[in-house]
Symmetry: C2
Subunit: 291 residues, 2 copies
């Protein structure tokens, strides 16, 4: 780094506000790479001295190169290894490409639709986030720029897996993806033995949303369970995901042999993590009425 870069780093900051701004994370910016107000949201990408590229929407960290693997692996592999051989997968949101990258590690997958409402996110990701966005041109991938809650309505009994990789319910267009109507449409679009996962916020700053999402999802799917994972640059570092299915159970139907074979491809997810992620701290159990 030359002197000029060092001087810049001393005064350019990104700040994400948690809990209404009483707390938050700050990051120094080595360089602001991209800023754009799309019709849907404010997109920023910057270079952090330790985390590499950082991608934010409406001032909220979506991923950093240093830890995005934690989130994307937990969101994708817990449902996908609860299925014996997923072929058709729908990702709702996921414009940075990280979930797509993880899904395509499963050789059984023949078709992935990424329904990302905002084409500017995908365009920016392809240009500036090569670590996550390199599978958009894979022949198995189809990109659709539509509202996921509308798009899904045309499908019945079609997908083996649906993964909701949304922004926060209070940011951008994320709110549509936290409604009971949307979850019902997901259930309809899934095959009987299909699997579903959604990011469902953190249970410390956003405890209300964890409970709302779980209650709505569990009112639609017979099998459902919240699981947790570490996600170091998300609020509180503690992230919840909700698994759901009409017939599959993430423990009983866990494909341990396939997981064992593929484990070397992952940096966070492994068989013990799959089994233990459903063990919830007592305060999280209380939050979702399972204590």
């Amino acid at each position: 780094m030359d002197d000029r870069e060092l001087r810049t780093m001393r005064h350019l900051f990104f700040m994400e506000y948690y809990s209404g701004g009483n707390t938050g994370l700050f990051m120094k910016m080595k360089k602001l790479i991209y800023s754009y107000q799309s019709p849907y949201q404010r997109i920023d990408i910057f270079e952090h001295p330790d985390f590499g590229r950082v991608f934010t929407l409406d001032g909220i960290v979506m991923c950093t190169e240093a830890d995005e693997f934690m989130y994307h692996e937990m969101l994708a592999h817990v449902p996908l290894f609860s299925h014996s051989g997923p072929e058709r997968v729908l990702i709702i949101g996921g414009g940075d490409g990280g979930t797509l990258r993880e899904v395509l590690k499963h050789e059984s997958v023949t078709e992935v639709i990424v329904c990302e409402i905002d084409p500017y996110v995908i365009e920016a990701a392809k240009k500036y986030l090569p670590q996550t966005a390199f599978e958009f041109d894979n022949p198995k991938t189809t990109i659709v720029n539509e509202n996921g809650a509308d798009y899904i309505k045309q499908y019945k009994d079609y997908f083996d897996a649906i993964i909701v990789d949304s922004t926060d319910p209070t940011a951008g267009e994320g709110g549509y993806l936290f409604t009971k109507d949307f979850y019902r449409c997901c259930a309809d679009a899934l095959k009987t033995d299909g699997v579903f996962s959604a990011e469902t916020e953190d249970p410390f700053y956003d405890k209300g949303w964890v409970a709302i999402a779980f209650n709505r999802i569990s009112s639609v799917f017979a099998n459902n369970a919240v699981y947790c994972g570490f996600m170091t640059t998300y609020p509180s570092g503690m992230w919840t995901y909700t698994f759901a299915s009409k017939s599959r159970d993430p423990q009983r139907d866990f494909d341990t042999e396939r997981a064992a074979r593929m484990e070397k491809l992952f940096h966070y997810y492994n068989r013990e993590i799959h089994r233990s992620a459903f063990a919830l701290p007592t305060f999280v159990k209380e939050l979702i009425g399972k204590a």
Copy 2:
């Protein structure tokens, strides 16, 4: 809150710097309650609008009333429930009293020594941190204001449990408590079936210390294992602890019946958490050479 308080909250901030200051957590301060430079460290206690009282040493959050239970329960109960009936317990550090509070929930405990080097920390905790510091006057409690690494040398084959609730190795006097010599003294001071736990930092910002602490502890104790827990206001939200013992195993010797009986006393720890906390993400396994 009156207008004057609101105005204060707009401009008083606490900032903790992670990874050399390139990232960090900020918190608004409703009121700065106590600041003192003791011979060992800078002590600050402030009121946060959401987290209640926040206690920091050398600018590093030690605990907030909103989430200290996560850390104190995981540090204390994983080793204590790996023992069938701990009586004599030594806490090294732990001046806020949170670990002491958890230890005294175990009815078998007859004696707890809190070896906290800095009397000013205990004095401030007793005055300003009533949520954690209310057991210092318990007749089972003895407070010793000495360097833990020196103090422990007089004991041989005495304790059922030693819990190292230290500051960071780079802050205050925490460094002494991360040496192999100290861990060796802990092993000597423990009975053959005694149990040990230590906070061993976060594996994202402080990955070097996780590896160092685990390697040193595991070179001294036959049985050893890193476990993880969420700790929302600590760096990265992901905290590691290291369990160790000369003979006990945290799964084989887990006293599930006692844990079941006491579970209602806890907000984080429960039987599933005990069993699953030892399942480590792959990158943590790699860090400690267990991948």
